[in-house]
Amino acid sequence: MSYERRGGGNRRRHRDDYDDRRRDSYETPDDKLKIAIIKLGEVDPVEELPRLQKQIRDLVPVNVANISEAFRIGVTEQPYKIPYYAALLRLLHDRPEGEVDSEGPSLGRQVLEDFWKGFQAYLDKLAWRETRLCIHFFAHLTVAHLISPESLFALLQAFTAVLDEFGVSHGRAKRAAMCAAEGLMIGGPTLKLHSSSGVADIMNAIQAFNDTTISAKWLVQPIIKIFSDVVKIENGDELLDTMLYALETLNDSDFAQTATSFPQPYASYIDPDPSITPFNIPSVLVPPEIIELDGLSTDSEEEAQVKKDEWPEYFLRLFDNEVTPDPNTPAGYAVRSALLDTLDIFEVNRKECARLLLEYPKWNLPGTFKPKPGAPVDIEPAPGKDWQLESTIIETIIGALLILPESSHKSVYYISLITELCKLSPSTVGPAVGKSIRKLYGSLSEGLDVEAARRFAEWFAVHMSNFGFQWVWKEWVPDLALTVQHPRRAFMRRALEFEIRLSYHDRILKTLPEAMQAPDAFTIAEQAPGPNFEYDDPASPHHDAAQSVLNLFRGRAKADDVISHLDSLKTTLETSDEGHINVDAIVRSIAVQSLLHIGSRSFSHLLNAIERYLPLLRNLASGGASSTGGSGNAEAKAGILTEAAAFWKLNRQMVGIVFDKLMQYQIVDPTDVVTWTFINGSTVGQPSELAGPLSLSAFEWDLMRGALDKANGRVMIARRKVAALRKEDDDTRARAKARANDNPMEVDADAKPEEETPVVDNPALTTALKAFTSLTREQKAALSRTLEGFVSSLAPAATDSNPNPHSRTVITEQGWNNRANWGKDEWNAWETWGWYRQFCRAYSPYLRSYSTTLTTVSFARFQGSIDPAAELLQKTFNVAIGQDV
């Protein structure tokens, strides 16, 4: 049920807003009151408060539970209104004039007591955001003298206690620290009066935890200096750091700045009747995290963990402190956390989210943001504030989008949200977006993390796709003088490639200045992405052979017939003049390319071609007659991937799609794709000018990530299947047992409960467990192969084939400072290091599960080595699995 009203006139509706999705029929008076409370402040919250208070009191009989539920919804789903809800509750504590019976608790107190029960329920569920927002509310109420400071202290200490738990996860500790810190920021003025040592204790506890996160921070900084251990970066801040800086500033002035950072509408009210004793928040314990033990260990190592790790959160700064607030200050922290909460809560409706973000200034103190252009300037800008709203919003969204190793929501959410903001207010949001793009582009040469750069390119392309691909590319023309693999040039290429995928080649080419269109600018592909059937040309060797195969496919010949045709083709080739060449490879090439040719018209055609000729593909994957059966022949599978990549060399999107479906149909395994990618990936669809020694760029990373995610996703499915079957089994047994117990004939059912339930598992479960075992093995192999690939790319032995000579120079300070002179091999090496970091932090739960095997296989060779590359490889891995301290 929703309390949002249609109409109202203040909200623009687009034609694509076809959301006639609800029809609320009858509303009871209680419902109406609840809606009125939730909608507090549609026009002016301060003005509305007395009226709303009266409305609440006028509805008799009083339904406390209904009122407090409205407060809970208001507080947890509209956190920007919390100060006003605190003020409302303060008003409800007054005895109405002329009330005869002044016995018993005030209405406000009754609501507060009921509200607290809701808080306890949030805490029991470990609903962290709701819990934290309720603490905001309690902290305001403490300043308003409705809650005792000692009980708020006790509450906050319950959260700092979490930080001392043995082996506490970063995510849990971070959330607990936020609860305590934000409660302290808001409640500080009263708390410090009560006990300044208590305030110091809370801050020290958070500081102590923050000190333990230094190496984790090193791995997730968005601007990286590989050689350096320093975790403080320019143009960016870590969440806990900003929180602590803001707290220190507040504490230094005895929380005088709380009043200039958080609205306190209740501050102007006279103090409540001294006869009222403030509410004591009952003491609470933060419940432990529930660890699901499904007992699915598959080998001697621990089971593959599913839960994703959480990391310190760095937010990039794109603007100066005069333009957007510095989050290290109390007011700046308040703004950012309010915007982040809005992003999070309204993820379900990005259009409403955009509208609420643009309305945010109304909920903060007057003068915090510059007035809208054209609005009457009747408010003095607050000293040190007067920030630009749109830049602040965009900076916060980009910051959230670029969190490493991954954003909390899918990146397309943040992208669409920015699109909505631009649609709502093009003239003010548009420039902020443009400036952000330029700023991020500039940071590409200052060490912007490769994964952040990839997401930047993705955002850029999707954004442009929504706004007519209008970007002034001309301003980046001078950068064409940079070396071809320089991050800025790589960005331009990648962004254009992504744009073409969403549109088409001619359309995008048209948007570029001539200098960028030129083939030797290596910025946009020379031709439209299309198939590249190597046997098409009548002059090419094996053209006729390929035509014969193609004709079979076209005539929808049976797979078996194609296989026998290929066998005879092989015989012909073997007996021909060039008998020494690799006949298997040629036949495979002809078959795979011809099949892809049949399926080249569209994604659906590809699926049809694969499905129709699965037996043929399996035959090819097993190396034909020389098959070893089972999961195929590694060389043959690599060959299939090579042919697919060659066929689609002008369309790297299709390479990814074909690889994905070849894995889906179990023609190749994720491990095959990983292995292939390290060896061959960088040769796909690139002019030879871009190729170099063994290295990994964003495209290869995407292929590899596709393979790893496939392997991990399969384990996930298998795990769920086993869990479901186990539950089914348990239910069946429980039912059988219950039936036995109900049966009066079996008097002694209770006496022998164990024998009643035979422990024979059902065959479906046995199969599911077997699949789970196979898939975990494959998962481990894929991860191991990836780690191996990185190790041999980044710390190559002199004897390795095609080693990158620069993998060691780019990780030194001297090397980095010399980057203006780097060529393509240096940048390739640097990017490869970047993907290694992403691999370690994004897949850390899996790496931890298999760490014993992985380190033995990949790092044992470095025993006693003083190779800096070897050391960095191991250090990065150890930080990722949390074994560095």
């Binding site: 379900v348 796709s465 196979s774």
Partner: protein, 225 residues
């Protein structure tokens, strides 16, 4: 969480007008649906463009991804007529598309997404009198992305049009005309183990692959039901 605003991923009043299932059953299906109906596409938009946008809502590490895309075709001309179905492996991905993609642009048109009951044989074809979508029967405006109102097409799109017109000329009807997209991972070694009763020779390979094939083909068929 949805007291203050209406989530964008709720089923709308869109429905398959020819579906024979009752409302309750439809709601049940929608609450698990992995398929989206995508509307207001340009006739020139390709499956790969659709794939590129919708893959951003995919969760491959959760066992998801795009399973298949079924392009809506004009019944008579076998050319795209402005709609398609995108089928994911998981329901969550379909919901994510509703929240993040529906109402944004693809190929410079605002597209709309709706949860769908699931693709059924024959639904890839338009239901309008002239073979296309019903909405294009009654459309009064000039819309170059949807065939204009005459044979005029924008200059840049002429080449694209030619490709588009040929692309689906081979589209089939009847069971098996539309690919499944690939199902869950299946153990293949079981078959192999049975074959190991005696020494293997190259000749055995044919039999084994045939056994595997039959099994998987059945699975694909089962999926279509």
């Amino acid at each position: 969480m949805a007291h203050v605003v209406t989530p964008l991923d709720q089923p709308s009043n869109y429905k398959d007008s020819q579906s024979r299932v009752d409302r309750q059953r439809q709601n049940d299906l929608l609450s698990k649906s992995t398929t989206l109906y995508i509307g207001n596409l340009s006739f020139y938009t390709t499956e790969e463009q659709i794939y590129e946008l919708f893959t951003k809502c995919g969760s491959p590490d959760d066992g998801g991804g795009i399973k298949r895309i079924i392009m809506g075709l004009d019944r008579n001309t076998r050319t795209p007529c402005g709609f398609c179905f995108v089928e994911y492996y998981t329901h969550a991905e379909a919901l994510a598309s509703m929240r993040y993609v529906s109402g944004t642009k693809l190929d410079e048109r605002i597209i709309r997404c709706d949860l769908d009951l699931g693709y059924k044989e024959g639904r890839q074809f338009g239901r309008g009198k002239s073979g296309g979508q019903v909405r294009d029967e009654h459309r009064q405006d000039y819309d170059p992305g949807r065939g204009g109102w005459g044979a005029q097409a924008q200059r840049l799109e002429i080449e694209r049009r030619r490709e588009v017109e040929e692309r689906y000329a081979d589209a089939q009807e009847g069971p098996g005309a539309v690919a499944g997209g690939g199902g869950d991972w299946k153990e293949a070694e079981g078959v192999q183990a049975e074959g190991k009763k005696r020494g293997r020779s190259p000749e055995d390979e044919g039999d084994n692959t045939r056994m595997v094939r039959t099994r998987l083909d059945e699975d694909i068929e089962a999926e279509r039901m």
